[in-house]
């Protein structure tokens, strides 16, 4: 506690006499803790948002339990806007929090999510199993207790929505907090608050990655691609270092960590696409078409997220995103048929399908510069 007071005293004295930035009085001799346990940590709002997201997902996933388990689009919209008191409160009060998931999405993503909610509401009324052109609930063939509400094109909207939520988190972290927010002030407390809110949206415990319990959203995906990319430690260290830097008025270091986080979240979303191609291949090789539709839908969600990232440091271009979407369905890239992807009526072999998943993984690898050791591209 004492160490923090002294630099702020110096700051106060110097700032009286010269209106230079805090950087000239930065204390660079501070240690960085190994867990996210700082004084005044306040990421409650982010934890509330993630809790809301969890409950929105649970509501959507009711539709999977059997055909005609109807989920109301209106209810989902209300949950997104936090009206109607639909949330279950716990230690985190949600309904009265004044927070809304809806305001956290970039505009294009919000429109997409509302469309997805419409689809879930409509398709959950189907009374049959899914088949090409027919929405419904179908089981994984390997794990028949896992059920999926699929669209007429075989898209598993539950996961597309979940990935859009993750995209929202990444957008808030990388495009809002690590960009406009921290560049809008030099006030230590306000900076710490922005930083904590960003960390809270990552979805990890304070002693990550020593502990990998309860990983959610991008925290979970960082862990899935961590073996080659080392994303767990690089992300966590950036959060820890930046937060310690703020407390010690070392805004140069804080900005360096922010820059790191911005590029890391961009490439993490891209790496997740490759991870989903791996999982799709595993499902294809096991003959599990429905599970493959699931993982393909997950990857589709991640691909669409790339477009919502408005950072000038984003690696992928709009033209490249279009190229990527065309690999799912060259005829209807914005509404791909996953049935056609696996050649349900065209008698494709496993090798032919994997040539397609490979192509997606390779394109991402090229664009983001992943090496085979970092992220085996199938």
């Amino acid at each position: 506690m004492r160490r923090i007071i002294i630099p702020s005293l110096i700051f106060m004295i110097f700032s009286y006499s010269c209106k230079k930035s805090n950087q000239s009085t930065a204390n660079t001799n501070y240690s960085v803790p190994t867990t996210y346990t700082f004084a005044n940590v306040n990421d409650t709002a982010s934890l509330q948002l993630l809790a809301m997201a969890d409950q929105v997902m649970a509501a959507i996933n009711h539709a999977n339990s059997s055909p005609n388990t109807v989920v109301s689009t209106q209810t989902l919209d209300d949950m997104l806007n936090n009206t109607g008191g639909y949330f279950v409160d716990s230690a985190l009060t949600l309904n009265a929090s004044g927070l809304k998931l809806a305001t956290c999405f970039p505009a294009a993503a919000l429109t997409a999510v509302q469309d997805y909610f419409d689809s879930v509401g409509l398709y959950s009324q189907s009374t049959t199993a899914a088949s090409p052109g027919v929405p419904g609930v179908s089981p994984s063939s390997v794990t028949p207790s896992k059920l999926y509400l699929l669209s007429p094109n075989g898209v598993y909207y539950s996961q597309v929505i979940k990935k859009a939520i993750m995209g929202m988190c990444a957008y808030q972290i990388a495009d809002v907090y690590m960009a406009d927010s921290i560049n809008s002030t030099t006030d230590t407390t306000i900076l710490e608050h922005y930083w904590d809110k960003a960390f809270g949206l990552f979805g990890v415990p304070v002693n990550f990655p020593t502990s990998t319990t309860g990983l959610r959203y991008f925290g979970s995906y960082s862990n899935q691609v961590n073996a080659g990319l080392g994303s767990n430690t690089s992300i966590m260290n950036a959060f820890l270092k930046g937060r310690a830097a703020i407390a010690n008025n070392d805004l140069t270091t804080m900005k360096a960590q922010a820059a790191l986080l911005i590029t890391t979240f961009d490439s993490l979303d891209a790496a997740a696409i490759v991870q989903e191609m791996h999982e799709t291949n595993t499902n294809i090789e096991a003959g599990d078409a429905v599970a493959a539709y699931g993982t393909l839908s997950e990857s589709l969600g991640f691909v669409r997220n790339l477009a919502y990232n408005n950072s000038p440091n984003r690696v992928i271009t709009n033209a490249q995103i279009a190229q990527l979407l065309a690999l799912y369905d060259s005829v209807n890239p914005n509404s791909p048929s996953l049935y056609n992807f696996v050649g349900v009526n065209a008698g494709l072999t496993v090798a032919q399908i994997e040539a397609k998943t490979n192509a997606i993984a390779q394109l991402i690898g090229q664009i983001y510069g992943f090496t085979a050791t970092e992220l085996p591209l199938l």
Binding site: P144, E285, G343, L348, E374
Partner: protein, 377 residues
């Protein structure tokens, strides 16, 4: 990746050095140790266990295939009984080779070898393929209409009427040709993997025995991952799902048709064969093995577990699991209904064994488990 590799290599160096320097590590009965640093455990596993398992599987499926061809030329009861026996032998032989499905040629060939045992079959699809005379078993759409489970259906589902299906039935000719196509596919794929492993073919055996260390791409790393992934199929698919215990926490009914080999009724025997095969890799003693196995790495490293040696804990768990599974009679599809407790006992020990093989053992050996149950989170 490099940071992790350095830590693992340091750990591996300690373990590997201790293996090569200890007396038990230098006993090489049953295999040759070439001069140099080749790991004698890998030599035993590769030359005396893995390669012979593939050789035995190839022999069994070749024999089955030629008998099926012979049956098809002039079907009769004797020949049918014979191919049913040869099918069971081949299916049992499969259980000693599936442990390597996720490394080497089995995983890099197209189609992957594991696709030969996707169950339950889609019977409707098989029937419709037969109806329209579609013998193209290697489309993705036919993954659940090929391999051992398809043979199981084709050779046993009609019980006493099976012979008629190949003689007097209206679709007898189509069915014979589908049977031949399924069998030919098995034969082709198994032999392709054997060729990939053989010194005279792709020589993967050399890659395997020289792949030292414990990195993700080392033979130890690949083998443990593959064996564990295969062993989980015992827990989940051979026992758990039929018992209605997977996923955990969800109440599901018992599902008799989810057992492996539902029609031939040899599910418990197959599960036991697989369990013993995994035990054999651990102990290094199946087939012509000389006793140098994964246990050797553990014993030499002296890894402790709950006050004793981890190697002893795992050995005991295997023995218990074998005992429990031996007490489960076939047909398993009946036993899970009439005496589920006996099957649950085997499931419970299998669960504990999964934890030992997937968490404690790899961590003790510095091996990273890279296959995941990442299920759409």
């Amino acid at each position: 990746m490099q940071r992790i590799a350095i830590l693992f290599l340091a750990g591996a160096a300690i373990i590997i050095l201790s293996v090569n320097c200890s007396k038990s590590g230098s006993k090489t009965s049953g295999s040759t140790t070439t001069a140099g640093n080749n790991d004698s455990i890998l030599l035993n596993l590769g030359n005396n266990i893995i390669l012979p398992s593939y050789q035995a599987l190839a022999t069994a499926v070749n024999s089955l295939d030629s008998s099926i061809d012979d049956f098809n030329t002039s079907p009769n009861t004797t020949k049918l009984t014979n191919i049913q026996v040869l099918f069971k032998n081949a299916y049992l032989a499969w259980q000693s080779a599936s442990e390597y499905d996720y490394l080497g040629p089995a995983s890099t060939n197209q189609p992957v070898l594991s696709a030969l045992n996707v169950w339950p079959t889609n019977n409707t699809l098989i029937d419709s393929n037969v109806s329209v005379n579609n013998d193209n078993v290697n489309t993705f759409a036919n993954t659940a209409a090929k391999g051992f489970p398809a043979l199981d259906y084709l050779l046993f589902s009609a019980g006493g009427n099976t012979l008629a299906n190949y003689t007097t039935d209206a679709e007898a000719a189509h069915r014979s040709s589908y049977l031949a196509a399924v069998s030919a596919d098995i034969k082709t794929e198994v032999n392709a993997v054997l060729t990939g492993w053989s010194a005279s073919g792709g020589n993967y055996i050399n890659t395997f025995v020289t792949g030292e260390g414990n990195s993700v791409s080392s033979s130890l790393g690949l083998l443990i991952n593959s064996m564990d992934e295969d062993f989980e199929i015992l827990k989940n698919d051979r026992l758990g799902i039929p018992l209605g215990l997977i996923p955990v926490g969800v109440t599901s009914p018992v599902l008799p048709k989810e057992v492996e080999a539902y029609y031939s009724g040899i599910s418990a025997q197959l599960a036991l064969a697989q369990l013993k095969a995994v035990q054999g890799i651990f102990l290094g003693n199946s087939g012509k093995g000389n006793g140098l196995g994964l246990v050797t790495y553990l014993t030499n490293a002296g890894v402790k577990y709950n006050g004793g040696l981890l190697s002893d804990t795992i050995k005991t768990a295997f023995t218990l699991d074998v005992t429990d599974l031996q007490a489960v009679p076939d047909p398993l599809s009946q036993t899970i209904q009439s005496n589920p407790a006996s099957v649950q006992a085997a499931f419970t020990v299998s669960q504990k064994l999964v934890a030992l093989l997937k968490t404690d053992m790899p961590s003790a050996l510095g091996v990273l488990i890279t296959y995941g149950d990442n299920d759409g989170d």
